[in-house]
């Protein structure tokens, strides 16, 4: 979690701003509780305006938080790590990648055909293969509810290689391994097909024509990232392809293209270059050449078609929202300051220093902005992650995006930061008010 923070300068900045604002706020509240009371009473005075500013801030913070969740997640997966990172081996010249199953044998440390040059670099827990199987539960109705998209893989590799599944119950993994036709489903997917653990489902394939499966739901994947996913054992899948060859007398058209991705894990970049060189130059893969990339650059390649729009969202849409937030705050605060210029002058007469008046106005605006930002971020976090099941924004193979816990710092920093910037000019004019001028108009 801390690594994630350090790898992401924007989030780090937000956390620093949040901490600074909280500390400053606490110091203010503890040293001058009565002035805080004045700030709060001033906010209550025009409840309508305060509420509107608050709501506007909340809506905009929610928007930015959701948009930034997508950008942040994509950033995180495409950020190159320097240690213990994953590699993807895919077909070199073709998208989607479709490789013969024998390719996996040369890279599987537990296979007798494992390339000896790779010994010591790839361990038994550093390997995984994926095939993608898509099907429908009702061949007459191709509705979204009926579609089932599965990762086909060796259950043994789930805990060691799948992101965020390292804490999956080992009993569940064992059950999937022991039940040849077993499948694990995400909770949302289960609800969508209206089935429970223990029930069976029939799947008619969409990509592997003729390979239809009868699966037994043996368990549930954790909520969150895998809400919509399904994982089945590769043993059953391979058996069915073999059975197809036996019964029809010829191999399935995809028989020799059944492997979509091979994942490896290496300890550092040096090992990555060695593995890459060995695999890419190995004669064993000559018939269907492969390329070896880091997972992050692999994902980066898949995201390439979206690069343009992501760039625009990051550098135009998000800044535009932030600027409008700042203007909303600046407008509200400057109206309220203008209305109260005489009061500011009275405070000055009583001996309030210009700096104190600046603090009072900034405090007023930042209290609203910070709390609205925080509230909005917490709400967005809860709604998106627990009620909506993530932001459904299908890009590459991400089914949904989840607001990270750090996202709460984005909201707080954004709310407090925009209100500080937006109220700075009005606060400065309050600070600089000339007492003699204000009262020469009155008397």
């Amino acid at each position: 979690m801390i690594d994630e923070l350090l790898a992401n300068p924007v989030t780090l900045l937000c956390v620093v701003i949040s901490l600074a604002v909280v500390v400053a706020g606490l110091v203010f509240a503890v040293t001058s509780p009565r002035m805080l009371l004045l700030v709060i009473k001033n906010l209550r005075r025009n409840l309508g305006r305060t509420t509107i500013t608050c709501l506007a801030t909340m809506v905009l913070v929610a928007m930015v938080t959701m948009i930034w969740t997508v950008i942040y997640t994509l950033d995180m997966v495409t950020t190159e790590k320097s240690k213990d990172f994953k590699l993807v081996v895919t077909e070199r010249w073709q998208i989607p990648s479709q490789m013969p199953p024998t390719h996996a044998d040369y890279l599987n440390p537990e296979s007798p055909k494992f390339l000896p040059e790779l010994k010591g670099m790839i361990g038994p827990n550093d390997f995984m293969t994926w095939s993608f199987y898509g099907g429908t539960l009702d061949p007459t109705k191709f509705t979204r509810e009926n579609l089932l998209f599965m990762f086909v893989m060796n259950p043994k590799h789930i805990r060691s290689m799948m992101d965020d599944l390292d804490t999956l119950d080992p009993a569940l993994v064992k059950k999937l391994g022991d039940t040849r036709t077993g499948v694990l489903l995400g909770p949302e997917r289960l609800a969508m097909i209206n089935k429970k653990v223990g029930e069976r489902i029939k799947v008619t394939s969409l990509n592997y024509k003729g390979i239809n499966l009868e699966l037994e739901i043996v368990g549930e994947l954790p909520a969150g990232r895998y809400d919509q996913s399904a994982i089945m054992s590769d043993a059953y899948f391979n058996d069915e392809l073999d059975k197809y060859a036996r019964t029809t007398g010829q191999k399935h058209p995809l028989d020799n293209k059944r492997l979509n991705l091979i994942w490896l894990r290496v300890r550092d970049r040096e090992t990555f270059s060695k593995v890459g060189e060995i695999v890419e130059n190995s004669p064993y893969f000559a018939d269907r050449p492969v390329k070896v990339e880091t997972a992050s650059s692999g994902i980066g390649t898949w995201l390439a078609p979206y690069a343009d729009i992501l760039w625009r969202v990051r550098w135009i849409v998000v800044p535009a929202i932030i600027v409008s937030m700042t203007l909303v705050v600046a407008n509200a605060i400057s109206i309220s300051v203008r209305e109260r210029m005489t009061e500011m002058a009275v405070l000055k007469v009583l001996g309030y220093r210009p700096g104190t008046i600046l603090k009072l106005v900034l405090g007023e605006s930042m209290l609203v902005g910070g709390l609205a930002g925080l509230g909005s971020a917490v709400l967005t976090y809860a709604l998106v992650n627990f009620a909506m099941g993530g932001i459904k924004f299908p890009i590459a193979f991400f089914p949904a995006f989840f607001v990270p816990a750090w996202g709460i710092a984005w909201g707080f920093a954004l709310g407090a930061g925009t209100s500080a910037v937006g109220s700075f000019l009005p606060a400065w004019s309050a600070r600089s008010v000339k007492v003699s001028e204000v009262f020469s108009k009155v008397t």
Binding site: S32, L38, N42, L347, L350, P354, T356, K434, S436, V442
Partner: protein, 254 residues
């Protein structure tokens, strides 16, 4: 009764610029106010009374000349230093009261004390003493909107005296009040001067208010026209709070 001058204004000039135009408001003006004096300042509208009061109260700085309060040359102090100086040394009473509408009477009186290093118990004691002085303890949780003009001005007076300032300045404090309320306010000011020996500067158009002062100076077109000095100190008006000396307003000092 009168001792060392507490206010010494020496040869001040004050001009404002309005666009290209330069307006001379005060011209080579000198004035001394002895400690404990109740001084009335009169003059036609636009003669510079408020401007002079602002200079003495440290709300503005003269274009030339010096303003001394006790042994402090306030005309040379920075704006921030002046602000802190005002908290302890100046009690300002406005024509239009200028209480903060969101705060109760109690909280309004407390405002200047928030700037001083006081415990909350000391603060409370001083606020209650000041409110008691203006006989408004029973209304202390009311907001200005719930008080009459006269009552609001009494809160204004409590706010002005709560820090036990060196000097109380009042700019037409009765200008917006009916005769009865004005009378009350003037009585209060007299009490402050008599019982607490406060130095008071009162700007007024109202001859009846000016009557209460020990000395009256007239301003005309930025120059002092001293005259009509009623030297006799009048007997304390009826209703002077007996024992106000024991009210416990602490001397803050400077």
């Amino acid at each position: 009764m009168t001792g060392q001058p507490i206010v010494r204004v020496r040869g001040i000039h004050k001009y404002f610029t309005r666009g290209e135009e330069k307006i001379d408001v005060l011209k080579n003006l000198s004035l001394e106010v002895p400690e404990g004096e109740f001084l009335g300042l009169m003059g036609p509208s636009g003669s510079g009374k408020t401007t002079l009061l602002n200079l003495i109260a440290g709300l503005d700085r003269p274009s030339a000349g010096e303003v001394w309060i006790r042994d402090q040359l306030i005309s040379k102090m920075s704006e921030a230093d002046l602000a802190s100086w005002r908290t302890r040394n100046i009690g300002f009473i406005f024509q239009f009261y200028h209480l903060l509408p969101v705060l109760t009477a109690y909280e309004n009186v407390e405002l200047p004390l928030l700037l001083l290093p006081l415990s909350s118990a000391e603060r409370q004691k001083q606020v209650l003493t000041a409110l008691d002085l203006v006989s408004l303890t029973n209304r202390m949780h009311h907001r200005p909107g719930q008080l009459s003009g006269g009552q609001q001005q009494r809160v204004g007076i409590a706010r002005a005296v709560v820090t036990d300032p060196t000097l109380i300045v009042a700019d037409e404090p009765t200008g917006d009040l009916d005769a009865h309320s004005a009378e009350e306010i003037l009585n209060l000011l007299c009490e402050l001067q008599k019982s607490l020996r406060k130095t008071i500067l009162l700007v007024t158009h109202d001859p009846r208010a000016a009557e209460r002062a020990q000395r009256i100076v007239h301003l005309d077109k930025g120059r002092l026209v001293e005259g009509d000095t009623s030297t006799a100190i009048r007997p304390a008006p009826v209703g002077a709070a007996a024992g106000m000396q024991e009210t416990g307003i602490k001397q803050q000092g400077t």
